[in-house]
Symmetry: C2
Subunit: 488 residues, 2 copies
């Protein structure tokens, strides 16, 4: 199937006249684009931002608003935690691997405190209080959360400290983050061209010298000293997902609907290299507070990991290892223990007085849950989980009555448009960049004039993911790309 609007670059000699000339052209106005624009304007450059939607925000604005920060931030200190860049680096290398970008991770960890300060200076609020239970997003406005650091095996790899810095908000914090960054940009001379969809790069020989932006059906030609692609991932491009991350096909998508991979393709068309295009964040439809007090099992009733890890790790394990055929099993006491505001409206799909009855109703093999819960209870009575090493805090024998939640039914009933198959995903692979945002070509050489940051790039991650590393590396490496682009 031929693409209607090609991504192949346009030769500058074919451009009759440029509509706009600017020093730095930032393509995409999510957190990475805003950060790049702020740094490039701070360096005294003319900046123009192109945004496909009618305003800034992108997928960043719809996110939970977690930033992975550490090394001893004031928020960590106020909550009583010590932390170091080394521990942060060790945790990220383990959690984001195998083959996480060691140079990016190391730099990100060492400069995390500085980045925290930069965010605060730009108005981003973090409340110094801890939400102390596994969750996707604190249901309160607490500003600090664990993101798997206190779960096995990471407890043996790095000294645990909570590093999820959640932008102060009721509910999801991404909108607050973007409101603050957009407000900061509005106090700079940067121009923002909304409703403008960048379709291809403009090249002069090997050098990128601009881009074509389509606005209300008309192509506008932008000449720039440097182009910074901050266009997001490709979760909304079903062809690209099928080509690069087939396990994500057919699931819900966690995005603003415009993560179509165009920026990645535009750069590949000038020979940019990509990394880890198969990798995805898998937001699974369950309540971590319920899972951690009970267990998660596959379609034949087997547990497959310690339930106190970062929930995204559960999502990946459930999708890649179990094809999402997973159930949360808990007892009445566990359900009741979960604070009302943390239940997200989720209720058990099946309840039963005995495990034999429960497994039969679910359609599991006879004996499956009796065996698994039997083993779990026998060890939990001793405060142990020799199978998967869930922390003792969450261990106690489960007692009747029992309940089960079918993850594939999702959190939102189909009548509310929530037929996501039990998960909502986004892609974390993308363009290969240096720590300064230079886009590298297939030979490992920087493409002159071309920079990128955010989910259009392969950032800190290889295969693994923890929350806060997208807004975190988007803003941090967005800033670096802005500095480097200003320098061109």
């Amino acid at each position: 199937m031929r693409r209607a609007t090609p991504v192949a670059p346009l030769d500058v000699r074919e451009v009759e006249a440029f509509d706009t000339e600017t020093d730095v052209l930032v393509v995409g106005y999510g957190c990475a684009g805003a950060a790049a624009a702020l740094e490039a304007t701070a360096a005294g450059r003319d900046v123009t931002i192109l945004e496909r939607a009618s305003g800034g925000g992108g997928s960043s604005a719809l996110s939970g608003g977690e930033m992975y920060l550490g090394g001893g931030t004031p928020v960590q200190a106020a909550c009583g935690f010590e932390d170091s860049a080394d521990d942060m680096e060790a945790y990220l290398l383990a959690a984001l691997g195998p083959d996480a970008d060691a140079e990016k991770v190391g730099l990100y960890a060492r400069e995390s405190l500085d980045h925290y300060r930069w965010l605060v200076e730009h108005g981003v609020p973090f409340k110094p209080s801890l939400w102390d239970s596994p969750t996707w997003v604190p249901p309160t406005d607490d500003g600090l959360m664990w993101l798997g650091e206190n779960a096995w095996p990471y407890t043996e790899i790095a000294r645990p400290a909570p590093r999820g810095h959640r932008v102060t908000s009721e509910g999801f914090g991404g909108k607050v983050l973007m409101a603050k960054l957009i407000d900061a940009v509005s106090h700079t001379p940067a121009d923002v061209h909304t409703d403008t969809y960048a379709t291809r790069l403009i090249v002069d020989g090997e050098r990128v010298v601009g881009a074509v932006g389509r606005r209300y059906g008309t192509d506008h030609y932008y000449r720039a000293g440097a182009v910074v692609l901050t266009t997001g991932g490709f979760a909304d491009n079903s062809d690209m997902v099928a080509e690069h991350a087939p396990q994500l096909v057919g699931l819900g998508v966690n995005s603003d609907g415009s993560d179509d991979g165009r920026g990645i393709l535009m750069a590949q068309a000038v020979r940019a290299a990509v990394r880890h295009m198969s990798a995805g964040q898998v937001g699974i439809s369950l309540v971590p507070g319920m899972m951690v007090r009970g267990m998660i099992v596959n379609h034949v009733g087997q547990r497959f990991l310690n339930e106190d890890v970062y929930p995204g790790l559960v999502g990946q394990a459930a999708l890649y290892g179990q094809k999402l055929r997973v159930w949360v099993i808990l007892d009445e006491k566990a359900y009741e223990e979960v604070p009302e505001n943390e239940r997200w409206g989720v209720q058990p799909h099946v309840v039963a007085e005995t495990l034999a009855e429960l497994e039969q109703q679910i359609g599991m093999p006879e004996g499956a849950l009796e065996t698994t819960v039997g083993e779990y209870n026998r060890h939990a009575a001793n405060g142990e989980d020799p199978y998967f090493h869930k922390a003792a805090r969450w261990l106690r024998p489960l007692e009747p009555p029992f309940a089960a939640i079918d993850v594939r039914r999702g959190m939102t009933p189909p009548e509310d448009g929530g037929a996501d198959g039990g998960a909502a995903v986004f892609t974390i692979g993308g363009l290969r960049t240096t720590v300064d945002g230079h886009v590298l070509d297939l030979d490992g050489a920087p493409i002159p004039g071309l920079f990128a940051a955010g989910r259009a790039t392969s950032g800190l991650h290889a295969w693994g993911y923890v929350s806060g590393t997208s807004l975190g590396d988007g803003t941090y490496f967005g800033r670096r790309a802005g500095v480097a682009a200003a320098d061109q």
Copy 2:
């Protein structure tokens, strides 16, 4: 890290003089290259084959020699099996998915009988006798084998028939296949330039018009009407593996040592698109005949699939789902039942009179194997496996004494150079091509003058793999690429 010899294409205007002019330049002399050369010469074209090694064969010659063929071949008929193209297509779509290339799979299934005849006409021998037990390669010279078609859930998707056509040979058959194809090529006017490593394409505007081949340190310039890349996958390129398939990092590699992805990169440098670069075939170090009579369990003693599936599916599940921390558990009777010639020298690493003793020696949680084998035996006594649906033929309660084999120790002791970590892999993603081998660019348009086949391309597969589909699609789509290249 900058690549020493760039893959970026060479402009034809920079070529002072061509050393060789040919109609069709085939790059790589494995099964796909041989098939392309045979068809292009049959169409009356001048053909030149470049091969990096000192002779043809490539990774094809080191392979088991299985070709996935069906639809009612004479070999199937002689062994008493009926088959249809529809059943073959349905099985492949299920086993190679999600998102296997439906157009390629459909065509491949419908033309499988014709392709069988073509192979036989070119001297490839298949003995009409069945090896009737799960295996990597029959330890006999039997020419037909099951490749998962008779295992659940595929038994519910398509009428089972064995379709693994193994080129007649003692042991691995790839060398026989390649000897026959190379012999066939030697009876054509095709020129073979060995010791010649293709490093980059030569382009005239958008059109590929040749390639540069390095021989003993000197660049030779080839002008061609069409170039067919049959350069193999990228399993030997550790950078590419880390970038695209990080789960395969550090494992053994199943190749001739030259699957460095160069052909894929050379094509990407002229804007070729790729698909499914993360996918891999995982040859796991175990004896299927032992596994199927016992069980395979993970590091906490859980089974995770029916042991009678195609062993490569076990390999993928063990790697992606269990990080290869898997053990084969069996009893003395099962071990003794495995024919001597099928044991590949593998002996138990741990033996014990009781499961409690066995699990303790392995280091599994107390109760782990007792629970799993207990459940297995209880159901096996009824001829059932409600957990994973292994066929009744392989089910019986396991009895003391018990044994365990640690898959990660591999089949070959380290002193024999076999430290493969328990698996040997190769990559199955690559260039996006039409069914006629045209390489497609990022916009979905054929790149003029450029064709590809074999493991340099994304063939029938998406994520899944069954044996015989590499030599199968290499030769079949190699032939089609040869025909189409001859037509340019």
